[in-house]
């Protein structure tokens, strides 16, 4: 063990740095999905589409505003604005027009409504943005790189991935925890997550909470997409792979648990990058192995509690 660390300790350090950025993105997408699931009890497959649409919008907006002219903070602002816009428009639209009609239905119908929506949005993205990879990396380039010493060598990392992404993820985490603990709207969300009926009985309008939560989830999905767009080319099909990973996070985290999503995202992000270094063939399996392992030990997920179920 000690000898292994002497040989590979530095590499492991690099792997952890890489894992942070990827964990940050996973967290941003999954936390929104988990929040929505916690309150609405609907597993929103179209969450992946919102991620993709956020990414497309951010890249499109970034390109339209022109690169280079904007300072780094403004470029980042544009991305966040784009995400907020997409989530704030699409979230209420989807919740009001579609989900609202099916809250009383069996969960398979709810799942399929979002599946149908996901299928439709896949083609809508194609019709709007075409099929060529869309990319706008001004935000990544403007932050420059940061050299990490590595023995006698050094490894350049992008400051965007090393600091900005994890920084935003931490801000979102802290902000969400604060919001849910310390504001009335947040406490109403927690109350509905815990027990919708009891919450209704004390006067909470669950419909409004649903709308608010779904919109927040949509904004978070789009934000994840927007923040991913400077580092990754956006192509058709990106929503499908995003959503499966987020599902794994939700089930592992425990329903509706913010801190669970953070911890799971961190485990998956770090696990995958460590795998790339030491067992590259296992990389794709990591999220699922973590999920199966956690559920074997804790059937309700990391932070999950047994639910009371009403007939």
């Amino acid at each position: 063990m000690g000898a292994w660390f002497a040989d590979n300790g530095l590499l492991l350090g690099l792997a952890l740095l890489d894992g942070l950025a990827s964990a940050a993105l996973i967290f941003l997408v999954a936390v929104g999905l988990n929040l929505v699931f916690g309150v609405l009890r609907v597993l929103n497959i179209a969450h992946g589409s919102l991620f993709a649409i956020g990414a497309y919008t951010a890249a499109g907006l970034g390109a339209a505003l022109g690169s280079g002219a904007l300072p780094a903070w403004a470029a980042l602002g544009v991305l966040i604005l784009a995400a907020a816009l997409v989530g704030a428009v699409l979230g209420p639209l989807i919740e009001r027009l579609l989900l609202r009609r099916i809250y009383a239905e069996e969960n398979v119908l709810q799942l399929l409504v979002t599946f149908a929506l996901f299928m439709m949005l896949e083609d809508v993205q194609k019709l709007v943005w075409g099929v060529q990879p869309v990319h706008h990396d001004a935000a990544m380039r403007l932050f420059g790189t940061f050299d990490v010493p590595f023995g006698s060598d050094f490894i350049p990392f992008t400051a965007y991935q090393l600091f900005v992404l994890p920084g935003i993820a931490v801000l979102v985490l802290v902000g969400l925890v604060w919001f849910l603990r310390s504001t009335l709207s947040g406490r109403m969300i927690v109350a509905v997550t815990t027990d919708r009926e009891a919450a209704t009985a004390i006067g909470i309008n669950a419909d409004r909470v649903y709308l608010l939560t779904f919109t927040a989830g949509a904004v978070l999905a789009a934000l994840g997409g927007a923040l991913a767009s400077p580092t990754a080319a956006i192509v058709p099909g990106v929503g499908a792979s995003t959503i499966v990973l987020s599902f794994a996070v939700v089930a592992t985290a425990g329903l509706g648990r913010i801190e669970g999503a953070a911890l799971t995202a961190l485990m998956i992000g770090l696990g995958r990058s460590v795998a790339v270094y030491f067992f590259p063939e296992a990389e794709v399996l990591i999220p699922y192995l973590i999920m199966v392992a956690v559920l074997l030990v804790k059937p309700q997920g990391l932070f999950g509690t047994l639910e009371t179920r009403r007939i």
């Binding site: 927690v190 009926e197 009891a198 209704t200 004390i202």
Partner: protein, 217 residues
């Protein structure tokens, strides 16, 4: 205060309430007696608007409840303590009790007045104020649920099987709290459900018996 006229409710296609008729006068203390599965909880949930009713009607202070959304019923002064206590486990006891007042956006003065009222009626709660609700014992939880219901229940409180699962000593304390309640808040109607009619006899003015979804008095 509360009137049920021929109320019919089905769950998953099976009729659970068949023409329930009941009346709780303002300030009245009424018991709903019935065995497990007779329809007590369903009656309470129907009153709270948590289940759709298929026939008949429910009147809240004379107004047809069908026009009052479930979450609006708290604003109409009806508090509800469900069978299992159903607290918000992540919040402290005081947060649980305060939340209804915050949701209704009561003025700070009014909130404080009601909170003090709850603490004076249920003195054991003051010692628990900062505890997390998830860590409470069953009896403590029932007490908190009652306190929470009282925060909004200015006209009526519905208590679903409050004595269920309580040790005799605790049940005694709960019954005493209810007596204090009766004296301190004479205008608040109370509807309590219970499977054992003996327990409630000293507490109520009137009893309804529910059996297989039908009520007789």
């Amino acid at each position: 205060m509360l009137r049920l006229e021929d109320v019919q409710v089905s769950i998953a296609g099976a009729p659970v309430l068949r023409g329930v008729r009941m009346y709780v006068p303002p300030g009245g203390r009424v018991a709903l007696i019935g065995r497990n599965g007779a329809g007590k909880t369903t009656t309470f949930r129907a009153i709270m608007g948590l289940l759709p009713i298929e026939g008949g009607r429910i009147l809240l202070a004379g107004a047809d409840a069908s026009g009052i959304a479930a979450h609006e019923r708290a604003r109409h002064g009806i508090g509800y303590a469900p069978e299992e206590r159903r607290l918000f486990g992540g919040f402290t006891v005081e947060e649980n009790i305060r939340l209804p007042a915050e949701v209704l956006r009561l003025p700070a003065v009014e909130t404080r007045r009601r909170l003090e009222q709850v603490y004076s009626l249920l003195p054991e709660l003051s010692g628990l104020a900062t505890r997390k609700a998830a860590g409470l014992s069953g009896g403590q939880g029932k007490m908190v649920a009652l306190g929470r219901a009282l925060m909004v229940g200015t006209r009526a409180v519905l208590l679903d099987e409050p004595f269920q699962g309580l040790a005799p000593a605790l049940a005694q304390r709960y019954a005493e709290a209810l007596k204090r309640l009766r004296d301190a808040l004479p205008d608040v109607a109370i509807l309590i459900s219970e499977s054992n009619p003996e327990l409630l006899r000293p507490l109520v003015d009137r009893s309804f018996v529910i059996e297989r979804g039908e009520v007789s008095s």
